[in-house]
Symmetry: C2
């Protein structure tokens, strides 16, 4: 099966598209730009959700649910936000179908069932949530509000790709309300740190924390914190964002609170989100020409056991052993599967689990039974070793931990060797086209220069790293003075 996959070198984009489908993660649907997330892909999303949800609750957040639809008059209230999303909104205009008088058996939109006010299918929920918060907030005692929502959102993108950019996607969106600017800034930064922690430690993807330049900010935000990852083809991917929204939404929806002194103030806001897009990042960070490579933390199946046998007696003995091992592993919280199908040869099973990125494979044959051993293979390095059965209870959890660490180290090494400092625009173009990756360069701080660089190279400012040092320099395009370097890259 792996053999049928286009190689990354040949065509990275084609490799990705094929892999998502062949590994049974997702597929395109009958609805333009919308995907079907298949059980194997969804199982990964469930693991991500469980961990993120735990982290959100640990930092004091609760879940709630707000409507899918946003009345147009609420949607347009915060003008910058509305302007940012207006061009990609699905709009509900009618609420009924009727039999089509011209086409028996077919339906048409009932012209008499037109809504008085159109409804926008939420591309993000600030508007509907802040129109709700208005009713919840009177006094400083009602603050902070720390709420998260797991939901689907719709952005009518013209060019879509499975997981990376789809018209409908699944995400979580946190929406918090605070009495002070400092508290809101702290929250926005804290949630960006939660994302970084999750993406690095759970997904084994190294990220750079930073803030966006003004033109890359979320529409309606005063500051956008972000985490940026680097894919194997040298393109960057924005893995999560956390916005300090200032008082923009409080002003748009007139949300004021009585402070301790009895004065009325506008409330401060944040919002933050990550989406199924992260699954695209996961695939593009770790996988290889043989298929998916999954960090053990996210693998729906962490260990698969494949029997190799000729006779029924051999099969029965191996099955007995496999079931004992499964019990041992499950008691340690390891998810495992015994593939006893008699319709596929062991080689075909090996190829399938390679394609689907199962971190550890155990094969048991007649010789292993004689010697009381198994063959242990790891997906990331293809290393195999013969291990005695008695050692597995200790060895397998260690190996899973080692794979997790090693995937992160490998990705970190790749990322670190793909941050290149440049001083001239010629170097900039050269690195971007040949070496690829992040380019660390001085920029004069103007949107005009940023735009010009984008037009000339397709590279954008991915972020101004939070740990960027003050360093006097000259803008790589205009030569104007700059106080610190920013990171440019082509991006997904």
């Amino acid at each position: 099966m792996g053999k049928n996959l286009t190689s990354r070198k040949e065509d990275y984009s084609k490799w990705y598209n094929e892999l998502v489908v062949k590994a049974d993660m997702a597929e395109n649907s009958a609805v333009r730009g919308c995907m079907v997330i298949k059980p194997y892909g969804y199982a990964i999303w469930e693991k991500m959700q469980a961990e993120l949800d735990r982290m959100f609750k640990e930092t004091g957040h609760q879940n709630a649910y707000f409507p899918l639809f946003v009345p147009k008059s609420l949607f347009e209230a915060e003008e910058k936000n509305a302007e940012g999303f207006a061009k990609e909104c699905a709009i509900v205009t009618h609420y009924r179908l009727q039999n089509d008088p011209d086409k028996p058996g077919k339906l048409r939109v009932d012209p008499n069932a037109k809504l008085e006010e159109e409804l926008v299918v939420r591309p993000t929920s600030e508007a509907i949530i802040w129109s709700t918060y208005k009713g919840w907030i009177q006094s400083y005692r009602d603050l902070p509000i720390l709420i998260n929502q797991w939901a689907n959102v719709v952005r009518w993108e013209m060019r879509t790709r499975l997981f990376l950019r789809t018209a409908e996607f699944l995400w979580q969106e946190g929406h918090t309300a605070h009495a002070t600017k400092e508290e809101a800034l702290f929250e926005a930064n804290q949630m960006n740190n939660v994302y970084a922690d999750f993406v690095e430690n759970f997904m084994a993807i190294p990220v750079i924390k930073g803030v966006k330049s003004e033109s890359e900010r979320f529409a309606g935000a005063e500051e956008t914190y972000c985490i940026e990852a680097l894919m194997q083809d040298g393109k960057a991917l924005q893995a999560g964002t956390s916005h300090f929204l200032g008082q923009n939404f409080a002003k748009a929806f007139d949300v004021k609170f009585a402070n301790k002194e009895g004065g009325l103030e506008y409330v401060w806001a944040t919002s933050w989100g990550v989406s199924t897009r992260l699954i695209g990042a996961l695939i593009m960070t770790h996988s290889d020409d043989n298929g998916l490579v999954l960090p053990p933390n996210l693998a729906p199946i962490q260990v698969v056991i494949v029997p190799i046998y000729k006779s029924d007696e051999e099969f029965d003995a191996i099955s007995q052993r496999a079931n004992d091992l499964m019990k041992t592993f499950r008691d340690k919280g390891i998810s495992c599967k015994y593939d006893d199908r008699d319709t596929l040869r062991p080689g075909a099973k090996f190829a399938q689990y390679e394609l689907q990125g199962v971190p550890v494979r155990i094969a048991i044959g007649p010789k292993d039974m004689e010697n009381n051993t198994v063959e242990l293979a790891r997906r990331d390095t293809f290393q195999k070793e013969t291990v005695s059965v008695g050692a597995l209870a200790e060895k397998v959890p260690q190996l899973l931990a080692e794979i997790q660490t090693s995937l992160y180290a490998r990705a970190l090494d790749f990322r670190n060797t793909h941050i290149t400092k440049v001083e001239t625009f010629e170097e900039f173009q050269n690195v971007l086209e040949n070496k690829t990756g992040f380019i660390s360069a001085h920029w004069d701080g103007t949107p005009e220069t940023e735009q010009k660089i984008k037009e000339l190279t397709k590279a954008t400012i991915r972020c101004i790293p939070l740990d960027a040092e003050n360093e006097a320099g000259k803008c790589v395009l205009t030569g104007k003075p700059s106080g610190r370097r920013v990171l440019f890259a082509k991006a997904y």
Copy 2:
């Protein structure tokens, strides 16, 4: 706070509406018919989800995700299903907003961004899922497919009520595909049993398992299994349904499989769902004039500790004890809260937790500290007792289990005394108006009689119980022969 609640006797419907809002479960939103599920209500939904999800996975199902939108041409493919939902569909017709040239700062639907084919916001997902399954099923080896989806759906209801009937609601929908009719029937019945098990044992709501009459069936189903519950006002509530869909969707979407003998057959289908509506059933089954009464299995907070003190020294000592108790309870998997707010008096806190249905309340005052005791109060019966601190680790889990059992027993007793056998139509009308509840009566089996009874009494056939005995009798309206009794009731 409880004092402000309309009593059930006075106006049951008003009591319900007030309770949902005052207990901080949900509220109406700016979007007609759509609700905001607040954190306290959503926490109950999360507990329901976790338990149901576990039960689905234990019975071999996996989760996946299918698009929110259904192209009109797919929606209308299964005609009965389409006809059943056509009148309550939200329709997306455009994909872009633009600046309104007549109203600066306002947006309007861009007339140039009309979709070639309208999209229906899913009221249920059979159409989009079976159009997908077509690509997944070629041979008997691809079957069964056992998939569940957690999702939002939209049905444009004219009269809405929080949780019970809303334009958008949250639910799960299982969609399975099978090689044989027997297997599909087994699945539909199995999932109805899973629902019954969940609703009775987890939510403490007794249900009657049955099948729907033809006119009450799901649009497109050949048989609808259901569980029916009885609310305190004597009205029935359909708590879950599981449909045997025959080959209707396979035929509509041309989904055939090669059987073992090499012949081509249409695939057999089921679908089954429960929704946030169950939260309405939960409230209406157990709660009282003082507020919510929650079964411990579903209570976001199972035990609350309230300190009663005058001096700071007293407060510190009580807090120390409360924190020790919290640790003890949490180690036993009990969710608990220590309410140390100094802005509310103990009485106000008591009223709040009564209103929010926290099953067990512990109060600790200076006298308790002296005697090494606490006051333990249960929400369902208002019984209080003084218990020594050392006994709590054993006593509290016991008490929670007892409350769970006792709520079920109370509801079962109410339900059982509200199933009334009647022989004449006069009795039927009399019981329906005065005693209320389920009416067990003979029916001649025709949709016409069913319709006539509905027009005359507003009662519908809730189900034909699965355990109904064969019993010769005469239809309560027409006097025509009947082979067994069915259950009628007015229903939510």
